[in-house]
Amino acid sequence: MATSPASATSQASEITDPNPALEARGLSVFYGEKQAVKEIDLVIPARKVVALIGPSGCGKSTLLRCFNRMNDMVSAARVTGSVTFRGTDLYDPAVDPVEVRRKIGMVFQKPNPFPKSIYDNTAFGPRVNGFQGDLDALVEDSLKRAALWEEVHDRLYDSAYALSGGQQQRLCIARTLAVKPEVVLMDEPASALDPIATQRIEELIHELKQEYTIVIVTHNMQQAARISDLTAFLYMGELVEYGPTDTIFTNPREERTEAYVTGRFG
């Protein structure tokens, strides 16, 4: 090996937090023989926006999916190491992945509303989780948090498919918030949207960090620079550098990071 994982990670993880939202230790993901994520240590502080950047195939989406055990869906994927959430290792055999996903929500690359009404989309999570309170109020609150309420309040029972792409994605965010998660994972949430819709999503992320911890994968470096507090640069499955977004973009320690953020490769 060119670089030993130990030295790479000790350099990379400068961020510490006594009470982090999520903490990965020695996290690796294998797809069959191929190792997609290599021994990553990463501390994600609460109520911050953390951007994962890197070229295609660098393992950033795979890493993101470790945080709510979405990789369990891929039968060939194998995860080693640990992810600690509120003092519990998410990969402890006693942990139910369904419980994990209630606390750690996810928004996907392409808007993927259910073929149901706007109301039913938002209410799906609370319903399947046995919510007993005032569902109408929860739906309204979630849609307001996702900055969608004004646009849809008079047509809650119309199909979600009638909404524009940007509205659909905000509906997907509202749907995630309705389950009352602590962490929201976003996998390139604006990559399928036009610039105006993208801007609305970015503004929304900025507001959401008051209450939620957000981990966002993005291909768009300007976006990472605009919205994140911390940025992690991944390359070939390794965490190359992790630090305050300003530092990563203006004064990175690693040459590879600088080459990537200045657009010399990737």
Partner: protein, 295 residues
């Protein structure tokens, strides 16, 4: 030919004409192939309706079989077919859909699953008479169900099972994985993902496959002869343990008689059978449209 030219050297007019001609010939051949099916249907309908439509009336539908052709009707066979059809649907639909859900959503992707899958595909191609023999051995003799409607329905259920399973699997597979991910991401359990999202979206396809499979079953004769459907019956079934006959068998029975009047009866029976089939196909379309509108 085209005033624009191709810019390629040697792309002569002769070549241009030839490839256009090829395109036209191909389209004509395809249209002719389509016509074979349409013409066959028109000839069949014309022949059968010409012979039998005049004989189909309320008396024909409400009379039992008789040695006197002017008094004979299809009541027993029509009721038998409907009983068999309903029971077959009740048995095969839940079993098939459950099997398809298991194979698509739960089963691990390993060699055992692939082996089961291969077996189901092979079962779909087994001749129906073989199912008849199986039904005779297992249901009529083995379980002692005798020559009854339930024996017939169970046998036909085995016959349509693989077809419905495969159609249902395809419908379930057509549900985008992004929908499953979204539901799992909200903390839904596997059962909730399947029952709230996957099944409703797959339902139009499943229903269409089921009704088409049942349409085949309602025309089956061989396996039902094996499990003891009889040609002459003068009562309607009162329960699943009764003896029965079905429309195709009654038609066959009439065709095999020498007198001209019975041939007309057979044609009339075919008209009734076709009407039943077309009703089922129409139902398939209505159900599919209805589910699609709900989404």
């Amino acid at each position: 030919m085209s005033g624009l030219g191709t810019g390629l050297e040697g792309a002569s007019r002769a070549f241009e004409r030839r490839r256009r001609l090829k395109g036209v010939v191909f389209a004509v051949l395809c249209a002719a192939a389509t016509l074979v099916g349409v013409v066959a249907l028109v000839v069949l309908l014309n022949d059968v309706l010409g012979d039998g439509a005049g004989r189909v009336d309320f008396d024909f539908l409400s009379s039992f079989a008789s040695r006197f052709p002017e008094r004979a009707g299809v009541k027993a066979a029509l009721f038998g077919s409907i009983w068999i059809l309903a029971l077959t649907a009740l048995i095969s639909f839940p079993v098939s859909v459950a099997a398809a859900i298991y194979l698509e959503e739960y089963a691990p992707r390993n060699s055992l699953t692939r082996l089961i899958q291969l077996n189901i595909a092979n079962l779909a191609g087994v001749p129906s008479i073989v199912y008849g023999i199986l039904g005779l051995a297992v249901f009529v003799r083995g379980l002692g169900l005798d020559r009854s409607i339930i024996s017939g329905a169970l046998t036909l259920s085995l016959l349509v099972l693989p077809v419905i399973i495969i159609a249902s699997q395809e419908a379930i597979r057509a549900v985008p994985s992004s929908i499953r991910e979204a539901a799992y991401g909200l903390g839904a359990t596997r059962w909730q993902v399947v029952s709230h999202q996957v099944l409703p979206m797959a339902m139009p396809g499943i229903l269409t496959g089921t009704i088409l499979a049942l349409s085949r079953a309602v025309g089956e004769t061989a396996p039902l002869i094996m499990v003891g459907a009889v040609g002459f019956i003068a009562f309607t079934p009162r329960g699943i343990g009764d003896q029965f006959t079905v429309l195709p068998l009654q038609i066959y029975n009439w065709v095999s008689r020498p007198r001209e009047e019975f041939q007309v009866l057979a044609a009339a029976g075919i008209v009734v059978l076709l009407a039943l089939l077309l009703t089922m196909n129409a139902l398939a379309i209505v159900l599919r449209n209805r589910y699609q509108r709900h989404q």
